[in-house]
């Protein structure tokens, strides 16, 4: 019966997807606080915060370093290897994906997303 074969095929596919998901790392990025990220170095996470305006964005040949502040007010320095997002300096919120490195005491972000300020409200004093 063909239908049985199809069922077997679908189950095989589902098993394949499950296998891929369980065998590789860094597929999920839970939203966490800075504190959690620092306590779980090496775990792939997603953090959100404001850019600390008083800390400069430092560029070097590798990438750039910046500081974020989360809702609880704690600070975290992050490094991103690669292109700085378009509107980085003027962004309201930064979402960074990556891992905290306990040796370097820095959050190594492999992806940085920025949220633009909601366009109008700010301009009108």
């Amino acid at each position: 019966m063909k239908n049985k074969k199809i069922l077997v095929f679908v189950i095989a596919l589902i098993l394949l997807v499950t296998a891929i998901i369980s065998l590789s790392d860094d597929l999920f990025s839970p939203y966490v606080s800075f504190e959690y990220a620092e306590k779980h170095p090496g775990k792939y996470v997603q953090i959100i915060g404001k850019r600390a305006a008083d800390a400069e964005v430092i560029h070097n040949a590798e990438g750039f370093t910046f500081t974020m502040i989360d809702e609880a007010g704690s600070r975290l320095t992050a490094f991103h290897k690669g292109v700085k997002p378009q509107n980085f300096e003027h962004t309201e919120q930064i979402v960074a994906l990556g891992k905290y490195s306990a040796d370097k005491k820095i959050f190594e972000a492999d992806k940085v997303l920025v949220k633009c300020p909601s366009k109008y409200e700010k301009e009108k004093k």
């Binding site: 966490v32 997603q46 366009k119």
Partner: protein, 720 residues
Amino acid sequence: MNIGNIILGAALMLSLASVFFTIKNISGDIKAFAVGQRLFYFTGILILFAGLLLFSFFMNNDFQFAYVFNNSSKSMPIAYKIAAFCAGNEGSFLTWLIILNICGIVVIRKNDDYTPIILTTIAVTQIFILLILLVKSPFAHIWDYYPNEFKIGEIPGDGTGMNSLLMDPWMIAHPPILFLGYASSTIPFGYAIAALVKGDFDLWIKKTYNWLIFSVLTLGIGIFMGGYWAYKVLGWGGYWGWDPVENSSLIPWIVSVALIHGLMLQTRKGVLKKTNIIMALSYFILVFFSTFLTRSGVLSDFSVHSFGKSSVLYFLLANIIFFLAVSVFLFIKRNKQIESKPFSTEIFTFEGMTVYGIIVLLLFSFVIFAGTTMPIFTGFFNQPSNVTEKFYNNISIPFGLMILSFIILSMFTSRKYLKREIIIAAIFSISAGVLFNIFFTKNPAAILFSILSFFLSSMIFVDLKKSRNGINLASKVAHLGIAIFILGVISSNLHSWSEQKKVSVGETIEVGKSSITLDGFHDHEKSDIQLTITENGKSRIAKMAYYIDSKTESLYREPYIIPGLAGDLYITPQEYSFESINYSSALLHENDEKIISGHKVSFHGFISDNMGSQNMVIKTNLLIDGKKYFPGISVNQAGETEKLDQKITGTDKIVALESLDAKNRTIRLFITPDKNDVIPPDFAILEITHKSLIWVVWLGTIIIAAGFCISMMRMRKQNN
């Protein structure tokens, strides 16, 4: 009330009336259809008029309307004023509505017994979109939109302009084409509903096939265009980032591609009748679900695209739930009556391979769906979790390989090849696949993908050589496009290299065959960084936009792309450092101390000094190399300013106050540099990427689209 909203309201009433009469027709009243049809035509006039009205507001810079104010400005070129129409939610929904209505008018001209049901489906969809438009109206006055900022009747002089990122030629065509795909998905849905209502599960696929191809083609082109735009404008160097906004169009598109194959099989072999109905229903519902994901703000924390949370959410949800309920109800009612022909029992048959291909496509779409909605569903339980790009990339490897394999296998089942042809193609593909990658990457998946893609391409060429008019020309072309697209993806991702370079003004760096000289920063309204690029002895000037966009208050940078046969050279300005200006001027907060042109300067507040003058005079209290100075500005009653510069004792250098911010107590000072000073040059940090064979990706998408075009033309011919 204003005229725009009145028109939309009237269109809503007429749509409701149209639905009323059409349903009356469906339940037996033959005459009622003509009334419903005519009412629908009237809604078309009103909706088109609403569109023209909004369009004229953009053309006339009518900033009393918040939507025009927020998305346009006087100085914008006309082409972008047109594009601004779709720059926000309100205009997007209106565009969708107009296109949906036009599709409706085209489809209901033919009056057969399917038309009333199609008309009802379209009119109900139209009602939902009209409701959204009335809640979030593009015709809202600015004083209603921003009640705290604007008094009633107050009209701003200029608008805030469109987001610079959207000011790109691709963005003029991208939204309308995408909405063509979205809107036309209603028609296969309508026919599937009609099939369920009437209990005839064969006729509907003939009627809907052309519309489905049209929908798949336009949605596909829309997605491809979004990719070109991302590559050209966003500057991160890619064309696809698995962002929710991108995924949300891809998910229904994959389902629609699966549906095309399903309909083809049903036409030929009479199988998959249930599956096709389900896929047609899902395609439409997924289009709305995608809109819900991207336009309602539920994923706003997880996407680079920011769409504010809004009340649109509930209307979209209501829409989805309504259509889902109707679909499920009708399907369960008819489920037992749908009888497909049994499958052939052999495994290795054309329908077998196609069915497995369809399953792979549907499951692929489902996995992307699961990934995209992960933050919502995990958010119900504990901390919301997103999935990474790696999730999608890893999943895409087996699914992509399987899709290629089933395409190839289905070709073997439908046609006999000579042994010689297969052996030659196999030897060619294996060597080409290995040689294509080996100098850049040893990734086994890349090599396997390449071999299969080369093999598929060569088999298609064998086919095309034998017969150009085969019934499957369209599918061959589209499948060839997929093979080429995959080769482009492999090459542009895995064969590319990139480096970050710090370049000073006047300095020349060698990148591949080109030498790049940084000319410097050019300050004008939309400032840019200028490069001179020399290739084969020929020089040209390249400008990369680099300015702070007043609308989004964000730094706007544009990459510069040097196209080439071997690949693009993709240059992104990371940062420009104004060393020369910083040498002779500086920003000082109160009590700051800085070195300006070699002098130690500290700032100790402001002195207002109006003695003996009608003018307002503000002076600064400075200490330069231990001596006191008081440069300032004077403003007369007419508002003209005059700079009160001071000479530095013992030199002919001056110290000048360039600007001040009294509230934050900061000033910008300038001191003439000495002739003998060594002024450091400006420098830029550039990211330079070689995008290997990126044009092959574009070529692949064009060929895929060409395949769908051929299919549409063929159907046209057949119908005539």
